[in-house]
Structure formats: structure tokens, C-alpha cells
């Protein structure tokens, strides 16, 4: 293995990016040491659009992970790679049906909710309509997730072990609060979120504990 392949993974991350946050949780749960390279999504029109970063991630978004001598993009793809290469502390169940249930929740968040309320889309929607727009899509997704959880959840999203579904759900709940979504209709989501709030791996991954979190936003 080359020197670069053995060095510590580098996560390109933005403190408040929910997609970066998912990967931070997974890295923490698996106790994989990593360095963070902050990419500001707001400074100078967004550092993710600069030429240098475009070479890292052609989608011009965070996260990206340099690991094992490779650069990986897309949060779910990164998390599955970690799962397949670092089997310690599994984040996917063994049972095929439960695996499908984990992925359903991951996909509802990652393709059904987050893309529709992320910063770049809200800029296009415009200041005036953005809160209503974000609330609409988050509410639609949370209604579905609550229904899915009603048959899959134990202590966490799928059964009693933390899975990738939980890594996706918790940052999305944070976003829901940012957009003042009424969360009372989703008691299972709220219970799981509360359950994980104090977990060290989740706490260390929280936006307020990131090196690039501005002082006024830190807890």
C-alpha cells in the first residue's frame, strides 16, 4: 500500500451540511480517525465551486472523502464503502429485508427530502418562498418516514441497532427544525432523534462541534 493510501482519511466537510454530517457520524461510529478539510458553502460564493475543489468533487458539493488512496463522493456511496471496507461496528443489518428497510429510509432522506431543501435549490426558489418550499418537502418525507418507522423501528430506525438510516435521519431532523417544521405529528422520529442526541458519535458529528462552525452558532 502506498504512503497516501495509509494516511489518515480526509473529509471535505461543511459544518452545517447534512450530507457531510451523515458521513461524520458513520466515521465516528466506526471509530475511524479522520481529518476535516472545511469547504465553506457560503464564503466567496461557495468554495465548492472553485477549480481546485471541482477536481475533488465534480458535483461541486460536500462531502468528499479521500481514503485508501481514492477520492469518493456522494454521502451514501461513501457510507456503504466504509461499511464494506471497515466491518467493525456494522451499520447495516445482516438480514436482507432489514437491509432494504435501512436503505429505504436512507433514500427517502437522500433523494426524497434533502435535495429539495438544500442551499443551492433554495437560492433558485428565492428568499420569499424558501421557507414554505422547504417545509413542504420535509413534511412530505417525514410523513412517509414515520409510516415506515411504524413497522421497522425498535430502539432505532430499524430494530435495536444503530444503522445508516439513523445516520441519515438525525441531520434531517436538525434541518426540519431550522425550517420550523412542526414535528409533533412524528413521535417515532422524535423519539429516535432524542435517543441519539447524547450519543458520543452523534454529538461529535454535530454542526456545533465542527472546526468551521462560526463562534456565534456554537453551543
Amino acid at each position: 500500500m502506498s504512503l497516501s493510501a495509509m494516511s489518515k482519511p480526509i473529509l471535505y466537510s461543511y459544518w452545517r451540511s447534512s450530507c457531510s454530517w451523515r458521513v461524520r457520524i458513520a466515521l465516528n461510529l466506526k471509530e475511524i480517525p479522520y481529518d476535516i478539510k472545511p469547504i465553506s458553502l457560503i464564503k466567496s460564493g461557495g468554495e465548492q465551486h472553485c477549480n481546485e475543489y471541482r477536481e475533488v468533487n465534480p458535483m461541486e458539493q460536500v462531502p468528499a472523502l479521500q481514503i485508501d488512496g481514492h477520492t469518493l463522493i456522494e454521502s451514501l456511496s461513501i457510507m456503504y464503502y466504509l461499511e464494506e471496507t471497515r466491518p467493525q461496528r456494522p451499520l447495516m443489518p445482516q438480514d436482507v429485508l432489514k437491509r432494504a428497510k435501512v436503505r429505504e429510509i436512507c433514500e427517502v432522506v437522500a433523494s426524497g427530502v434533502q435535495p429539495l431543501q438544500n442551499l443551492i435549490v433554495l437560492i433558485h426558489v428565492g428568499e420569499e418562498k424558501k421557507k414554505e418550499w422547504a417545509q413542504h418537502w420535509i413534511t412530505r418525507g417525514f410523513r412517509a418516514i414515520e409510516k415506515l418507522l411504524s413497522t421497522s423501528a425498535g430502539k432505532f430506525c430499524v430494530g435495536d441497532e444503530i444503522t445508516l438510516a439513523d445516520c441519515c435521519l438525525v441531520p434531517q431532523v436538525f434541518n426540519a427544525r431550522r425550517f420550523h417544521v412542526d414535528l409533533r405529528p412524528y413521535p417515532i422520529i422524535l423519539r429516535i432523534d432524542r435517543e441519539l442526541e447524547g450519543h458520543p458519535a452523534f454529538r461529535a458529528a454535530h454542526p456545533s462541534n465542527q472546526p468551521d462552525c462560526p463562534p456565534e452558532a456554537a453551543k
Copy 2:
């Protein structure tokens, strides 16, 4: 196994839905016989919103797959389930890095492009702006995919075997054409699309060959 678990899978599908189409390709490639239950996304304000279908898929969208006595939603989750339970004609490489590359392309399509140009979002964007909106997000995604393919592609998206990445890419190219996206800057995407155009599994999954395709849209 119960009787329902042994019966033929039922795919809830809409002829022109690119997410349904992905799953149709995967089912065809794996030679899994299935029945289609058409759900019209336009009739009576969208059959996906009726109470009966909401019980099938709480996200109120297609596809959904009834298989092995279970109901699965989210196209990528369904395809990974098929891959894990029907190992014939694998649609994922064995190599972990190549697997990550397949998933990257799947996720760029499934979370970076498709959600932003699907019917339900375009209704919100409005008739006047919808073409420009769809073109913007498809172009952004295709620029990234072309770059990813420049290092991953062989005959197909990742190497010389058809993978889930190809199942995601082909329907998205069709959507790009619907919205009159200029595809000339993406020669690798175009080459792979042409390569797969005549493949029996892809052809049978094409919108124009679906039972619910209106006669005026059929080839």
C-alpha cells in the same frame, strides 16, 4: 414460504417514470418474471395519491415492488434488494472501489438530478420556468457524471459489465432529451446510451413498450 411469497412480483410502475424504468431494467436483466400494475401519475390528479396506493408507498410515488411477501419502495433500495436476493447476472462489481463508483453514479442520478426535475417538483416550479429549471439541474449532473465516467467507464459506466449505474443512467438520458438538454458535451454518456439502446432488457423496459404507454407515445 407462504403462497403470497411465492407468487410473481408485482411492480407498481408508470410508463414514463424514470425511477420505475430503472427497476424494470434490473428485473429484466436478472430475468425475474413480474407483473406490472400501472399507476397513472396524471389521471385524476395522480393515482399515486389515492388512499389505497398510499398504503403501498407512503411517499406516494412509483415504483414499489411486492416481492417475497414484502412491499419495497425507493428504486435504489429495490435494486440492491434484488442484487442481494437474486445473485444471477450480478449488477454490482465484486471490487469494493468499483462498487463505490457504481453507487456514486447511481446517487448522482437518484439524489442529484432526478428529484429536481421530476413531475411533482416541476408542478411547483410552474409551467413558465420548468424547462429552464430542469435543464439547469440535468446539465449540472451530467457534467459531473461525464467527469466520473472519464475514469470509471469501459464499455459501460463502470468497466465492461452492465451495472446498476447503467440502469440509472439510461432513463436519465431519456429525460434529458425530453427537456431538450444539449448532450453534445457528454460523449461518454452518449456512447453508453447508444450501446444499451438495443439491449433486449433495456428495450423491454423502455416507456414506449409499457402496457400503460398511451398509443400516441408508443414507437
